[in-house]
């Protein structure tokens, strides 16, 4: 018999553990001055330190330490009064030094927590995810496996290495085990990564782009029989690279573990790889042999000993918590939950806020960014903020509120700005997009419309007001959509004695 998600959870309780790697957005690398630009030509951002050449000596990037402490503070951690780097030794060409400089038993931050909200059957519920540690390390180089069928390592006849990424500051955030999430385990995992991403973004310490790998998540999962109180063997699914994938990986592993256990098989403690297409995982390397990293204190780096003054200075830099800010803005703008979620999910909250700060009405700002501009951005597969600036949008909204643009004209202005015809005022001038407010000009169009449809005009004269719609439409057409429809209606009805 095969267990599905629900039947698996009728028998087993899942336990989660999440490891998140965040690339910091420092200008230079962790231990050397090489640049950290994403997408640079291969091996253009390397030096003797990050290439591990003999005799080179690392020096720690101060901003990377400060970013790490900020992350720890935001996650309610204690900042270690004494912290050291360690060498994690392994032979693999992604690190030219044959070790990764990391932290082992003396990480910079320990014992924090993060509360995450999950929508459950009983409404929103808060789960507390406890943080074990936050430690500093460096990213590895990028490998390209050549000769195999699928770019995978198996079947490849050689590999090519680009060390631009080797040595970029990386922070690893490790949770304690997260028990008692039951069927909400996939949602808790997703909400944790989403909440963490929001916090990191608000701290401005990382780009947190999962699709570019600046935020990566490893999902640990084990099952225990309900009521047994005994933790099962875990699997670790590596590099799950979107929020949706985090959720799918947890759900998929629950089903896989449960079916193995039910058929009497053992769970192997191993690293697995998430397959984006199927939502399943396939085995990677087995942990039994790989775990022996022979960590030892890094002799080329001195300890990091942050004093209370430094920590308190950093604490003053902590921004408002994203969840608090959201609540504040939602109240101030009187936005319903659904629209608020849409704005957050579209990652447009900052943009809308900036537009509002320039004087735009919050409802208008939201509807332009999430409506017309998002629609065009979707078609072009870019983000809305790539198309329009906050200033442009605020200006267009102002012109609408002054009655100088109708919504219809404003859409043409947006189209023109996106087509790089210039600023909103330039587009308005070039395309001649002014609201026709001159009564005599409007009257001319009204008379023309009546002359073209005398029978309809007669109906309106006779008291059939809805018939005026067709005439108003004709006037709008004659004025190229540049008239204010309400004004046209008023003038037309008056002209026809209504």
């Amino acid at each position: 018999m095969t267990l599905n998600y629900d039947s698996a959870l009728a028998i087993y309780e899942p336990t989660l553990g999440l490891e998140v790697h965040v690339e910091l957005n420092t200008k230079s690398k962790m231990f050397c001055g090489c640049a950290t630009e994403f997408g640079a030509q291969p091996n253009t951002q390397t030096c003797p330190v990050c290439l591990g050449l003999p005799g080179s000596l690392p020096v720690v990037n101060k901003r990377a330490i400060e970013s790490s402490i900020l992350i720890g503070l935001a996650l309610n951690c204690s900042i270690a009064p004494f912290s050291r780097f360690a060498r994690k030794n392994y032979f693999y060409p992604d690190m030219p030094k044959n070790f990764q400089t990391s932290q082992y038993d003396e990480p910079i931050c320990v014992n924090g927590f993060l509360d995450v909200d999950v929508e459950t059957d009983e409404g929103n519920k808060t789960f507390r995810v406890e943080i074990e540690r936050v430690h500093m390390e460096e990213d590895t180089g990028k490998s390209l496996h050549v000769g195999g069928a699928t770019g995978r390592i198996h079947g490849a006849d050689h590999s090519l290495l680009d060390y631009n990424r080797a040595g970029i500051p990386l922070v690893e955030i490790v949770t304690k085990i997260v028990p008692n999430t039951g069927k909400y385990a996939p949602l808790v995992a997703r909400a944790y990564v989403a909440t963490l991403r929001d916090i990191l973004r608000s701290l401005k310490v990382s780009d947190v782009k999962m699709e570019q790998g600046s935020l990566r998540c490893d999902v640990n999962l084990s099952l225990s029989k309900i009521g047994s109180g005994k933790l099962g063997t875990r699997s670790e699914t590596k590099n799950v690279n979107s929020l949706r994938s985090v959720e799918r990986a947890v759900a998929g592993e629950i089903i896989r573990h449960a079916n193995r256990l039910e058929s009497g098989e053992k769970i192997v403690q191993e690293t697995r790889h998430f397959l984006e297409e199927s939502g399943e995982t396939r085995p990677g390397r087995s942990k039994e042999q790989a775990e022996d990293y022979r960590y030892f204190p890094e002799p080329d780096l001195v300890p990091v000993v942050p004093d209370a003054k430094w920590i308190e200075e950093l604490r003053t830099l902590l921004p408002e918590k994203p969840a608090d800010r959201r609540k504040r803005l939602q109240t101030a703008w009187a936005v319903p939950d659904k629209e608020m979620n849409a704005m957050v999910n579209a990652e447009l909250l900052d943009t809308v806020e900036q537009t509002v700060l320039l004087g735009a009405d919050p409802t208008k700002a939201r509807s332009w960014w999430l409506g017309e501009i998002s629609r065009i951005a979707n078609d072009k597969a870019v983000s809305p903020t790539d198309l329009m600036s906050v200033n442009d949008v605020a200006q267009i909204i102002e012109l609408i509120s002054k009655g100088e643009l109708t919504d219809k004209l404003a859409r043409q202005v947006v189209e023109g700005v996106i087509a790089k015809e210039g600023s909103p005022s330039e587009v308005i001038a070039k395309r001649g997009l002014k609201v026709v407010s001159d009564d005599s000009q409007l009257m001319k169009a009204i008379e023309e419309a009546i002359a073209a449809a005398p029978e309809t005009a007669e109906k309106v004269r006779g008291g059939n007001i809805p018939a005026a719609g067709a005439l108003i439409g004709a006037v709008m057409k004659l004025t190229g959509g540049q008239a204010d429809a309400a004004k046209v209606r008023e003038l037309l009805l008056k002209h026809l004695g209504q």
Binding site: G33, C34, N43, V59, F91, L160, D162, V302, P303, V304
Partner: protein
Amino acid sequence: MAAISRDEVANLARLARISMSDAELDHLAGEMDVILGAVARVQEVAGADVPPTSHPLAVNNVTREDVVTPSLTPEQALSGAPASSEQRFKVPQILGEE
């Protein structure tokens, strides 16, 4: 009792990707045992008032500002590589691990 067994030396050799013959393992196991024995004696001498140290200097918080400095050119970076291709370091087939 020996501080390090022959099996442990064999495991270290495997982790370090060094191929060793049985004779070499026998020889090294004995030699490393002597070295570790000597280190153990130093540990006995260190009293409770001597903290363990990984660095000879009592210096903390040596950092650099987050400033970009020039990198090597790709040609310079690759000049010491046994093989390169497409401006990347070329390494032999990586087996078994992923």
